[in-house]
């Protein structure tokens, strides 16, 4: 009975999350290699190739106000399913204000931890490691670290906030499903001012679709800001360089050097 209930739960979650999507059949047909302890093997150095870091929605090429022309925004196709983010009216107004003041108001401008899912599509690599009871994702950006517990444990039931949330994972077929909650309200989704509140709840799905590709999907729910849950989806590519490894991008250290230079 417990198993049945679990299967029903998984099925209902799956149908909720997949409804309305067009997922290439090959992404589900691929049979990934397994780790020594039997999980689908997602390990390696990965990076997205898209413009979501600038704007997760469709956008034209444009100057980024306040930056030299060479730091302009390339035109890009969005990663939001249907392209619309279902903001509540007040929240849409707030997003537009964020957009106007994005040069300084974006938490990335202060080199803060960028939250989830944004950390996934920052334009820097990340590396996945798997263990029987957890998945560890290390990001080049800021040495950000996520431990995703897959041991059946639950989110802590205490009033706490994390910049990268609290991540609890489970394996659903070949997919790693990660439930992320307990976020701060201080991160954005992109450099275009898309934002959330502390009620953010993200469900990520990581699926190998081939030797060198992952499909990354995230369902975003925040009843304080949006009228309904919405989804993003993007492929993630394995870094092909034989010597690929994470290096470092300590953004805030450069911010300090800038303050220092200004004080001289």
């Amino acid at each position: 009975m417990v198993l049945c209930a679990g299967a029903l739960f998984v099925a209902s979650v799956a149908s909720t999350h997949i409804a309305g999507q067009t997922v290439a059949p090959t992404s589900r047909a691929y049979s990934p290699p397994r780790t020594a302890f039997g999980q689908p093997d997602l390990q390696g150095v990965w990076q997205v190739v898209n413009t979501a870091a600038w704007d997760i929605q469709d956008h034209s090429g444009q100057r980024f106000p306040g930056l030299p022309a060479r730091f302009s925004v390339p035109a890009g196709q969005g990663v939001v399913e249907g392209n619309e983010i279902p903001y509540q009216p007040w929240a849409l107004a707030r997003k537009q204000e964020n957009y106007k003041s994005r040069l300084t108001a974006d938490p990335e401008a202060s080199c803060y931890l960028p939250g989830v899912p944004r950390i996934t599509y920052m334009p820097y690599p990340f590396q996945i490691f798997q263990f029987p009871d957890r998945v560890v994702i290390l990001y080049e950006y800021l040495h950000a670290t996520r431990e995703i517990f897959t041991d059946g444990s639950r989110h802590p039931d205490i009033p706490v906030e994390f910049w990268l949330g609290d991540s609890r994972g489970r394996w659903e077929g070949n997919t790693l499903v990660v439930d992320v909650t307990l976020f701060t309200a201080e991160t954005w989704f992109d450099r275009a001012g898309n934002f959330h509140s502390d009620a953010l709840h993200v469900v990520e799905r990581y699926t190998r679709t081939g030797t060198d590709h992952l499909l990354y999907e995230a369902t975003i729910e925040d009843p304080k800001v949006f009228t309904r849950p919405w989804k993003i989806r993007m492929p993630v590519y394995r870094r092909q360089e034989p010597n690929s490894q994470l290096l470092e991008y300590e953004c805030y250290a450069y911010a300090r050097e800038e303050t220092d230079a200004a004080a001289k």
Binding site: F129, F131, L138, H143, V160, W163
Partner: protein, 295 residues
């Protein structure tokens, strides 16, 4: 310790409470281990642990490597000063972590000894703005350390400023020599029961401690991690930097296991809550620019 402290915690009040509570079993554990195992002071620990390493058979991972996994802590006094230093209003004091040379002092060349004094007076201590602590300081900065092993890699995760080290244990060359990194570039191999890690590619913007002890970007470090009892790692690092020191020198100290059930690393969003650096810069201190190799 010299104020301001290692960086402000951004998380909510309960983390502080949880940390205080979590320290209790940890301190009890350490006390019990100190009675059963080698003493903690480097000069006594080093020979004792090396002797034990000859006979101790460590548990193994599924792929047959010595199992170093778990939560660990190094000696926090090192971050005040790796050399012997007294208890003061700012420091808890402690013995030297240096086991070679025997006097427990860093064998600076004269210019470098002068620069160390200048560092302390002139620059913001690099841990204040939450910069990564570098190697080896990350191993004794007051924080929780988690070691994880997967085939071909050893991960060392540090709660402090959510920094990490990835140590590949398959044979591969270091990153290009012109790539300087806060945490250096680590390459590991297993030598019997010991994880040996070769560390190069330092950006040299980190210090060994709060008093400005330093190395250049040419520093070459060789670390050795050896379990000497179920709850103690003998950690040793040999530091070579011919333009800064008169010869190689070595630190050694215990990493003690934190056995608290259900323990996990929390997110220390250090930079996000850090408010001490700007006042120091306004007061005339500078950001440490690092020391290139002197040729």
């Amino acid at each position: 310790m010299r104020p301001p402290s290692e960086g402000a915690r951004r998380a909510a009040w309960w983390i502080a409470v949880a940390s205080l509570l979590s320290a209790v079993p940890f301190l009890l554990t350490v006390t019990a281990q100190a009675q059963a195992g080698c003493p903690g002071e480097s000069g006594l620990f080093h020979p004792c642990a090396l002797a034990r390493a000859k006979t101790y058979r460590p548990p193994r991972t599924a792929d047959g490597k010595p199992n170093l996994q778990g939560f660990w802590r190094g000696p926090a006094s090192g971050t005040e000063n790796v050399e012997e230093h007294p208890m003061t209003d700012d420091d808890n004091g402690g013995k030297s972590l240096i086991v070679d040379p025997a006097d427990g002092k860093i064998p600076y060349q004269p210019w470098a000894a002068a620069l160390q004094k200048e560092n302390r007076a002139k620059y913001v201590e690099p841990n204040v703005p939450c910069f990564p602590s570098g190697v080896p300081r990350s191993m004794y900065v007051p924080t929780q350390i988690e070691i994880l092993q997967s085939p071909g890699n050893v991960l060392v995760l540090f709660e402090r400023a959510h920094t990490y080290r990835i140590i590949p244990t398959s044979v591969r060359p270091h990153a290009g020599a012109n790539i300087g990194l806060w945490m250096g570039d680590s390459r590991g191999r297993w030598d019997g029961n010991t994880l040996v890690v070769d560390v190069t590619n330092h950006n040299a913007k980190t210090w060994f401690d709060q008093v400005g002890n330093f190395h250049s970007s040419a520093a070459h470090m060789v670390e050795r991690f050896t379990l000497v009892d179920p709850d103690t790692i003998h950690y040793q690092v040999r530091i070579e930097d011919p333009s800064v020191y008169t010869g190689p020198w070595t630190m050694a100290f215990p990493l003690r296991r934190n056995k608290e059930k259900g323990f996990r690393l929390l997110e220390e969003a250090c930079h996000e809550g850090e408010r001490n650096t700007d006042p120091l810069i306004r007061a005339g201190q500078r950001i440490y620019p690092g020391v290139p190799e002197r040729k």
